[in-house]
Symmetry: C3
Subunit: 143 residues, 3 copies
């Protein structure tokens, strides 16, 4: 890992900032704002879905469903991402691999580690903004 | 979220750095150094206190009390903050919303998730340094 | 903590980036690539080893042993570092104190907090790259 340029380091901070907001939007149940952080035809492949979804309508439906299930269960979830490793392709596309711990808290009960996941994203820039073009999440507890 | 300026990204790194040290000071029981990271009349509203405190004397008392209780219980706590979302007001004040997981370890026992919290801060700059002017913490396990 | 320079903040992002990759290499079982992130005669003092090791051969052996033990136990571990506090010495050497939570997941089972640790590193720059010259890890659950 040779010494990174200032530009690479600023982009690193930008990626961290991007994810902080994105995860908060998801946990706040802001399904539409969250979906806007993906490209229009993003591929979203996560263990909680029976099959990958493509595009924002599917993302919004997935986020809304998660919010409803949490409300019914009387729980809050927080997606806590970290260990963000960013590789830049020559064309500016970013390959990002990171960890996400999902914490669950029973309202009136206790908090616990719910899931430990690895998140592999492809990030592109559209109209100046970073967006996820592809996301693949794996869970550590699944074979 | 339009493309952030270099200045915004550098400030993002500064905020991360600020919190890393601030949380460590708290966990090290350095009550006075920790209190110095707040403005002189900061408002501190957290679930562990029966009512909000204002000013450094109250902060120092709260941190000292926490240290004493941990020693009596034979536990160590670590405040692990992340997912830091920073909004800049035109006057340079920063509105920061982040997650904090508190881990508890019984000395001679096991480690666990103790609390999952959302932290909403107002950060200002005084004499060149970032300081918390207002902090409101909510716990995910409380209604 | 006076206002940090842009150079300090860029280095802060560099340190975060360095650790993200280093921890992922360890968790991926890439023992040799991981060992390359230490200086050739680095001192590595962690609670999982009966005594400190010095140099990359010992690091590789330790990482390989951990990988084997995890495979036998049917578990995955993730080292999630954060709250990275960086102090710069006049000669550019970095003293870094941070927290690392280790999550363990039983494959086909559940995920949990395994360890909560404090990591104290000395980082130096060699051929442009950051490298760990000295690491001392303590576990919160040990006296």
């Amino acid at each position: 890992m040779p010494q990174p340029t200032d530009s690479t380091l600023l982009r690193y901070a930008e990626v961290q900032r991007f994810y902080a907001r994105q995860m908060q939007q998801l946990d706040l149940g802001k399904a539409e704002a969250w979906a806007q952080t993906f490209t229009t035809n993003a591929l979203f492949d996560v263990p909680t879905l029976p099959e990958p979804v493509r595009g924002r309508a599917g993302l919004i439906a997935a986020a809304d469903r998660a919010r409803t299930q949490l409300a019914e269960a009387g729980e809050r979830h927080r997606h806590f991402m970290g260990m963000i490793d960013v590789l830049e392709r020559p064309d500016g596309t970013l390959d990002v691999r990171s960890y996400t711990t999902v914490y669950a808290s029973v309202i009136g009960g206790t908090s616990r580690v719910h899931r430990v996941c690895v998140c592999e994203d492809v990030l592109v820039r559209e109209e100046g903004e970073l967006r996820v073009a592809k996301r693949r999440v794996t869970r550590d507890d699944l074979a």
